[in-house]
Amino acid sequence: MLILRIWNYIRGYVIIMVEGFFPEKFINVCINRGIFLWDINRENSSTVTMKVGVKAFKKLIPVVRKTRCRLSVRAKKGLPFLLRRYRKRKTFAAGCLIFIGMVYLLSSFIWTVEVYGNEKIPTQEIVKNLSDIGLKAGVWKPVINTETIINRMMIEIQELAWISIDISGTRAIIEVAERVKQPRIIEKDIPCNIVAGKDGIIDSIYVKEGTPLVDEGSTVKKGDLLVAGMVENNNGVLRYVHAMADINARTWYEESTVVLFSRTRVIETNNTKNRYSIKLFDKVVGLGDTQSPFEHFNVEQDIRYLSLGWDVRFPFGIVTHKYTEKKLVKEKVSSSKAKEEAANSAWEKVKLTIPQKARIADKKLYVEPSAGGVKARILVECIEEIGIQEKISY
């Protein structure tokens, strides 16, 4: 019955004390006349206290006369009485109104633009485009037409496949999906050549259509023509065809890493210090000392906005910079460990450059001393498909 209690509080109620020989009669008469009473409490043999609404209180006077009780008011509770007390404080009321107005005004602007779902397109680019179109922090919400913004964005950024704008509170939540680049496929009836997509040595070539220009064992450079889309028939007439071939080539990938025997390592200590500043719109005002307390440090930034709930966020906030001290520690590395580390790191590096479809045929590791450390060079031989179809330009 919390709601009832709140309702009673808003309406205002009076705690009354009824004295008489038969307070029961008083209660019964009240109920018969439709006066709602609650929290009726017997104080002693002759008095009863109860609560009654402000409006119903006026109706009690005839009941009191009829039942010959004595009635006195114990307390007045609720919002109307509270308001009456503050009635003369005009500035206070004005302040309340201004506060509510400010909250309403500030919450009718967009204050943050959040972008989710992008992997390749930088967030800044999306935000910049949005602000050019007219969706940025500080824009009045009713002005925003999400439909046109979505359309303009789709035209503006080609890589977008889909974009949604959700305005919730003072936040504009942008969700995007990026277009997956489709491989260039040349229709089967369009004549084309096959060129090398990479440097390498041809390992195997199997031509289904077209004239091969290279053989097994030929060294090719990127862009070299491998299979021509031109076929000469018995009469010596040239005909353009859609060249098709499986061409596998040996390709090489190389990476190297140097590991020094003595190096300085960075270790984070537990020493942290917070520096606070206040953010007002785009301005950041430092509170006290904003310089870093340490010589070597990591810094994390955390912004806490003043907000109402989750969605209504105002453009004011406290920025905390958490500085963590770092220490530089000199470390000696044994030669065998350095070798191992260098080899591992070179392998990790080279793995990133090898395409997924390539088959690794051979792997060679060369370790050689370099100034103050070791250098690991890794050479990976792969066999992979290198042919790329290219339209013939007449």
Partner: protein, 106 residues
């Protein structure tokens, strides 16, 4: 006043003789709520701390250890301690406190 109440009592007795049993059968057959058909109180008790009585006529006596409520089925008398009438309307009454006994008095 006394004549009027006697008349009323007479009617209830008469109803008791023939009418109510029929009404009771009727409500049982159709599975209708009995308190509506028979005009008797419906009492809901939550532990020994709260009692909710619907369909009552008036309060006869109210002390902090005893409440007597008039209903169509006689007087319902509650005993206990710290008894408080939490809410009262023309149809129902809610009593809280520590209730130790409920008794029907005819």
């Amino acid at each position: 006043m006394p004549r009027k109440s006697r008349e009323k009592a007479g009617r209830t007795r008469k109803e008791k003789r023939d009418g109510i049993s029929l009404k009771e059968k009727f409500s049982e057959a159709l599975e209708l709520p009995k308190e509506l058909i028979l005009d008797v109180p419906r009492i809901t008790l939550i532990g020994n701390r709260q009692l909710f009585l619907e369909n009552y006529k008036g309060i006869i006596e109210y002390e902090d250890n005893k409440v007597r409520i008039k209903t169509h089925e006689g007087v319902v008398s509650l005993e206990g301690s710290g008894i408080l009438i939490k809410e009262i309307t023309s149809e129902d009454i809610m009593v809280t406190g520590t209730i130790s006994s409920i008794q029907f008095q005819y």
